[in-house]
């Protein structure tokens, strides 16, 4: 080992190898087991690229590719417009209820499967509440939920929190001395934001934007909800899951999704290349917060409330659905009841505890892996370190159903020692599937966080005699804490509603998570209410968790801040 790696890098090298092994075992092998047919001539069994030639020859697939690209790009634009004011106001000004706004901002990520879709249709569908009112009063309707623009609308209000969370973390990581220097030199207002603050927060913004782009490009749920078939992810899904047909095109599309996602990731890395985003002093912690003048405050609140009303409306619809009796072709449900919650609490509490355990473990593993990968990639010069990042991020583009089938195929013949049960049907496999699927979220946040820390801080610590390990524990990780927390929150929130891989892997009802419970309820007309109630519970749990972590972070930030500077500002 010492021959291969200089001794200071031995720790990271071992960690890197372990992570690579983990990704190989639980991502590359199972997925490879499934998608190798993309490279196989279906009639002779020989290796070939003819399937890819077919893909590009097929006009429907070319159209789907273009549509997916268009929708992903536009969603980044709209999501940026939604998230920038929220991130800026809450990190830059003394703003009542910042933790609350930051928490509400994450809620859109937790859109429970199926019920979320029903709630959206009941509110924004062509005969949803909004359109019924519009038609009644003004005699026209707006097709919110139709075609590609409908997909963009839903995707943007669903995934903008990726940008919000990462941008907020980055903004509060900027050292205030940079801003002070700029102000001393006469810069202020928009110019200060445009030239100093935003560029320094660039790693966070790019991390979020790349996530939104890749996630929307690969997203399946929303196009299916709107019955838009002419996009890549639904094409892959429809072809993989149809009964009895064994068309390799589904897997070809999966390979193309992975490749294109990696390409976009690479582009986003290039965009940040050659610039240094790190700031050295970490004395004050975060941007200067100033008080708002009265009319400014009114304006900010108006913008924030407007955005929150828009992005939280699906959850408001979900809440109505969970308390409503019958809701059909009407602005509101016919009557209200708590019967659905009674049903849920008498039959489905197991789902809730399972979800908390699974999603909690998965998010924990995700931030550990994310921090380790970020450190290996940005703080060492190990050969091939970037591939850890690419490899982990590739998980974003692998359809959940492909991962699920791959796990069954790979791990069903491996028995877990002591328990003597196939690994594929043990509940831990669900946790691993969630870890793999949500790792990219945690990873992007951790990478953004480490990019903002100056190496000089670590060098200083080492000069003062700290060991490498001690430096990591006492300097790097505490400074990354904002990003790590952001990563934990996004991973946890999205793992809590994961369905496509888990539905393949659940082998016992007692092991099933909440999303599976919702799926089960939503198979029958009478199950809509209890399904929605279960969805509301999922949102509540994740929301409360997020709020608590924000409060903790704010408190620790306050403890580090010298009070006198906060209070006085021009």
């Amino acid at each position: 080992m010492s021959f291969l790696f200089p001794s200071v890098q031995r720790g990271p090298a071992v960690a890197g190898l372990l992570i690579a092994l983990f990704l190989f075992l639980f991502l590359a092998v199972p997925v490879g087991q499934v998608i190798f047919v993309a490279f196989q001539d279906a009639s002779t069994g020989e290796a070939t690229i003819i399937n890819f030639v077919d893909f590009f020859r097929n006009s429907l697939f070319r159209e789907s590719f273009f549509n997916s690209f268009y929708v992903a790009s536009m969603s980044v634009v709209i999501a940026s417009i939604i998230s920038m004011p929220l991130a800026y106001f809450t990190t830059r000004f003394n703003f009542g209820g910042t933790a609350l706004i930051q928490t509400l901002g994450i809620i859109p990520l937790i859109m429970p499967p199926f019920v979320g879709a029903v709630a959206m249709q009941l509110l924004f569908g062509s005969n949803g509440s909004v359109n019924l009112i519009l038609d009644d009063w003004f005699g026209f309707t707006i097709p919110f939920m139709e075609g590609l623009n409908g997909v963009i609308f839903v995707e943007s209000i669903h995934y903008f929190p990726f940008i919000l969370i990462n941008l907020s973390a980055a903004l509060s990581n900027i050292d205030r001395s940079m801003e002070e220097s700029a102000q001393n030199l006469g810069s202020n207002g928009m110019r200060l934001f445009r030239r100093i603050v935003f560029p320094l927060a660039m790693p966070g913004y790019v991390a979020g934007a790349a996530l939104v782009f890749i996630k929307v490009f690969d997203d399946l749920g929303t196009p299916l909800l709107l019955n838009v078939n002419n996009m890549l992810a639904p094409q892959a899904y429809l072809r993989v899951t149809s009964i009895g047909i064994s068309d390799p095109m589904g897997y070809v599309i999966a390979v193309i999704l992975v490749a294109f996602s990696l390409l976009s990731l690479w582009v986003s890395m290039r965009a940040l290349k050659g610039k240094d985003y790190a700031t050295v002093q970490k004395g004050g912690g975060g941007l200067m917060k100033r008080d708002l003048r009265r009319w400014e405050k009114v304006g900010c609140y108006a913008v924030v409330i407007l955005i929150l009303v828009l992005v939280l409306s699906p959850h408001f619809g979900l809440l109505l659905l969970s308390f409503g009796t019958i809701w059909s072709y009407a602005v509101l449900p016919d009557a209200f009841t708590i019967a659905h919650y009674v049903t849920v609490f008498s039959t489905a509490t197991q789902y809730i505890t399972n979800t908390l355990l699974y999603a909690g473990l998965a998010a924990l593993f995700d931030v550990i892996l994310g921090t380790a990968i970020a450190y290996v990639v940005w703080r060492t010069d190990l050969v091939g370190r970037k591939w850890l990042d690419y490899g982990a991020t590739a998980a974003l583009a692998v359809p959940g159903v492909v991962l699920g089938i791959g796990y069954l195929r790979t791990f069903h013949n491996i028995n877990v020692p002591l328990i003597d049960e196939p690994l594929a049907t043990w509940w831990v496999i669900i946790v691993i599937a969630m870890t793999i699927r949500r790792l990219p979220y945690a990873l992007r946040s951790c990478v953004a966080a480490i990019q903002q820390i100056s190496v000089m801080l670590e060098e200083a610590a080492e000069n003062l005699g700290a060991t490498k390990t001690r430096t990591v524990w006492r300097i790097v990780i505490p400074l990354m804490s904002g990003g790590i927390l952001a990563g934990f929150v996004t991973s946890f929130a999205t793992a809590a509603v994961e369905l496509s891989a888990t539905i393949m892997l659940v082998a016992r009802e007692t092991d099933a998570p909440l999303a599976y419970g919702i799926y089960e309820f939503m198979q029958s007309a009478a199950g809509r209410g209890p399904g929605a109630a279960l969805g509301v519970i999922a949102v509540l749990f994740v929301g409360v968790g997020t709020y608590i972590s924000h409060v903790i972070i704010e408190r620790s930030n306050k403890a580090r801040e010298p009070k006198s500077i906060v209070a006085e500002e021009t």
Partner: protein, 445 residues
Amino acid sequence: MKKFMTLGAAAVIAMSVASGTAFAADGTLTVVTSFPKDLTSVFKSAFEKKNPGLTIEVLNKKTSAGIKYLQETSANNTSDLFWASAPDAFEVLKGDSLLAKYTPMAKGIPDKVGAFPINDPDGYYMGFAASGYGIMWNTRYTAAKKLPVPKNWADLKDPVYHGHVGMSAPSRSGTTHLTVETVIQGMGWDAGWAEWKEIAGNFKTVTERSFGVPDGVNSGQFGYGIVIDFFGLSSVGSGFPVDFVYPEVTTLVPANIGIVKGAPNQAAAAEFIEFLLSPEGQELLLNPKIRRLPVNPNTYANAPAGFPNPFKDKSIGAAVKFDLDLSKNRYNVVNSLFDVMITYRMKDLTAATKAIQDADAAIKGKSNPAAAKLIAEARALVAKMPVSEATAGAKEFNAIFKKKRKKATDVIEGRQAEVEQEWDTQVKANYAKAKELAEQAKNML
């Protein structure tokens, strides 16, 4: 809470002991099913009450996921029963030799319901309930938009329904497949497909899962849905403002159950099938949240008034003599054709249909042979099939879509993507041309 403790190593061992006993032969019966909880829980509790000591473990997976699950876990199988609606799902499993033969002992069950045999002739799966397709609609929706109530499939072709109808795709739902096939068999290949395309020209959407249709009608997202009876009946039963009707041409299809090959608990699996087919089990199907047609004719004596009885009312499901072999031979081609011509080209199809309907409305009461000819041409273009009935039923052609090479030496000519691309090009051009002709006709009037 047990799970939290297993985080400790000691608890892992404790868990293994506990689960070891849970998997003993007499204890658990694992059922993979696509049926909703409303149905499974009723049978689960009744069966467990009758057989103390037996526990049913219900694994709810959608049909396609259930098949994949059984396929992937077959080497180390842990499931006892597969319990689902679509006979074709069982055909797939049978083809992969994943089912075990069983001959039920229950008495009083006839050979056929409607025109469809109740049990698999080879004995790999048995029907326990029957269901037929029909039309459901949202009464608030139809009242608000002042739309009439359809009685037959053909009524849905009427221009008043443009943009108001929803359906699932046959490649997504086995029962939808049978409805599509029934109409094609009843009217013939070209006329049957023309009928479907004319109905589909009025579609608002083709949903990804079969439950998406009743869901959409229940919410009022679209007014009419082509659905299987229990979706309609149970929606009515749950209080939604909807209604359901069987059209004259419908097929009754059995919902089935089969023992998985190498089931860990064979005896209990057989016991469950017998329970399902017993008078007691059959009666449970009448539960308002389930509402499926029992296969034992005697059970109907206890049914509520107005409950359809296919054994008495010969008009349900008997109009078409359903040819099972024909359906099986071209199964994948029909699915793929529907997707290429309808699901993936919905926008083009509905646009062409709208143009034809507009031209039709304009020509009404006028005599203009040139325009009439253009409209007829446009209609023929929409109806035009990219493949003939003979080709669609040919074995070699179907092999392209199956692509399961039994031996390494097997060679199959052609690729699905290639064929579909060819169809897509033709279909898209035809729809565009039809739209153009119809618009041209309208401008002449």
